[in-house]
């Protein structure tokens, strides 16, 4: 049985006296009829693929449309020169998020997490944490299970598809998953993980999916930055003792309802919002002529 409520994961974790991530592992073993070793091996390969994609970033690549490429390197250089405002951690998180999203736009190999368009959020947070504070591979794999558990519940109760729920379902879900995963890395309890996810998702409610020319580039690439930074902020709030006033599962339900209320033009159809701006239309026309 797959989880459909974060509160169910927390309750079962309490009964079994096992951590949040372990409940997700057990659930996967049952759902796919695999051993613990097989499940962990697959998750480890996801982590390694994320690292490989991060390492293989090529600042010289440009997407087919010419809209994406090279910005991650700019951020990285700027961060190396002066990171007084964001601090070295967030500055690096931002650069990583853009790099991964650009790699995706340029047809490089990435890990959808939960989608290709939002693939930069989780690795930006986890890999930068590992780089700057140190974390074992085992711990990072656990964090990915936490992220997967949150994503699984969001997919079951709401959606992880921009066409169904707008960008809140993609970058919003990725941000919630990353917030929970970071909380785990910092020793957060199950309850803290759930609230970090809830706070991150709340900040993303209502986010529309209005990609220029229908491509996963504008605004998707830079929106990975907002998802990643928001995840770090949500975790920080929870560690400071703040909690979501609305219970985490109810926040996810609100996301589902909000998604349904979004007009068609703002759900990946490229009909409205940024896609409908004069410049967005001009870009689309140019691409169709090529």
């Amino acid at each position: 049985m797959s989880f459909t409520r974060l509160s169910d994961i927390l309750r079962q974790a309490e009964v079994t006296e096992l951590p949040f991530w372990h409940m997700v592992l057990l659930d996967d073993m049952e759902a796919r009829d695999v051993t613990e070793e097989e499940s962990v091996r697959t998750m480890r390969s996801m982590l390694r693929s994320m690292k490989e994609a991060d390492r293989n970033y090529d600042a010289d690549l440009r997407s087919f449309s010419g809209l994406s490429g090279g910005d991650g390197e700019k951020l990285e250089k700027a961060a190396a020169k002066d990171s007084r405002i964001m601090g070295p951690f967030l500055a690096s998180v931002m650069a990583r998020a853009v790099k991964m999203a650009e790699s995706n736009a340029c047809m490089q190999r990435i890990v959808a997490a939960p989608t290709a368009g939002s693939c930069g959020v989780i690795p930006a947070v986890l890999l930068t944490y590992e780089e700057q504070f140190g974390a074992t591979e085992e711990k990072l794999v656990e964090a990915l299970y936490v992220a997967a558990g949150i994503g699984e519940v969001i997919a079951a109760r709401a959606s992880i598809s921009g066409a169904e729920g707008g960008c809140q379902a993609e970058i919003g879900s990725a941000s919630a998953m990353a917030a929970g995963a970071l909380s785990h890395l910092l020793g957060g309890s199950g309850e803290m993980i759930a609230h970090a996810a809830a706070l991150a998702l709340k900040n993303m409610l209502g986010l529309t999916c209005d990609p220029v020319a229908g491509l996963v580039e504008v605004p998707c690439v830079k929106r990975n930055v907002s998802g990643a930074v928001n995840a770090v902020a949500a975790e920080e709030m929870v560690r400071a003792g703040l909690r979501s006033r609305i219970p985490p599962d109810e926040v996810i339900d609100a996301m589902r309802r909000t998604g349904r209320l979004l007009p068609d033009g703002l759900r990946e159809t490229a009909m409205d919002g940024l896609a409908a701006t004069p410049t967005g239309q001009k870009i689309k026309k140019q691409l169709l002529q090529e």
Binding site: F64, A116, E164, A270, L287
Partner: protein, 223 residues
């Protein structure tokens, strides 16, 4: 959906539906043909037609037809690789489709031996796909399970014969769809299974009375 649909798949970007799903459509078609593709006519519809170019939908489908999977780094290079291997392909607009899923492709394939296959496939979200029709018959299968497609004479008892043949081999049926052209005409059973169907069973099936043809989709690379 399992947790590796959430963290995963590992894929070449930019879009799970327009790129990874498109590779899977090509890959599934190649497997259904069961021999290398010599010529492919690829007709695109809806969003595949409008934003396919920018998402690499075209080179993704060709990559799949060459046998590549969604994480293959050579996907952007598939046109060149196809030419090297002597596979010809053309793109067009799927004008015959009406009210189809927005991400639909029609594939008309000819294999090395001259074998033909025609299918209509949809990329339905994430990188999941649905084979809508196969050789003109409704199909509706995902390519995520071993799938048996049995063309048969429409007569009583044939479905139970096929089902019991599978149960004798301990093959569990996950889903089963039945369609027919007209009463007493040609029927088709599309059976998604939990286990691979052994070659001997497939041969036995194809020789059974009332069975016209058996097509098999295996999850294994070689079968």
């Amino acid at each position: 959906m399992n947790i590796f649909d959430i963290i995963g798949p590992v894929m070449v970007g930019p879009s799970s539906s327009h790129t990874a799903g498109a590779v899977r459509i090509g890959h599934t078609a190649r497997k259904l043909l069961r021999e290398p593709v010599r010529d492919a006519e690829i007709l695109l519809y809806g969003s595949f037609l409008v934003s396919g170019k920018g998402h690499g939908t075209d080179c993704a489908i060709v990559a799949g037809l060459l046998g590549m999977k969604e994480d293959d780094r050579n996907i952007p290079d598939s046109f060149r690789i196809a030419r090297e291997r002597g596979m010809s392909f053309r793109f067009g607009e799927a004008t015959e489709l009406v009210d189809a899923h927005p991400n639909t492709a029609v594939l008309k394939l000819t294999g090395e031996s001259g074998k033909k296959l025609e299918l209509v496939a949809e990329s339905v979200g994430g990188s999941r796909i649905n084979i809508r029709t196969l050789n003109g018959f409704p199909a509706d299968f995902s390519g995520e399970s071993p799938t048996l497609i049995v063309y048969n004479q429409d007569r009583p008892g044939l479905v139970s014969e096929v089902a019991s043949m599978l149960s004798r081999e301990d093959v569990n049926i996950a889903t089963m769809h039945l369609h027919r052209s007209n009463r007493g005409g040609t029927g088709v059973m599309v059976i998604e299974c939990d286990q691979e169907v052994p070659k001997s069973t497939r041969t036995k099936l194809s020789l059974a009375e009332g069975i016209k043809k058996v097509t098999y989709y295996s999850l294994k690379d070689q079968d």
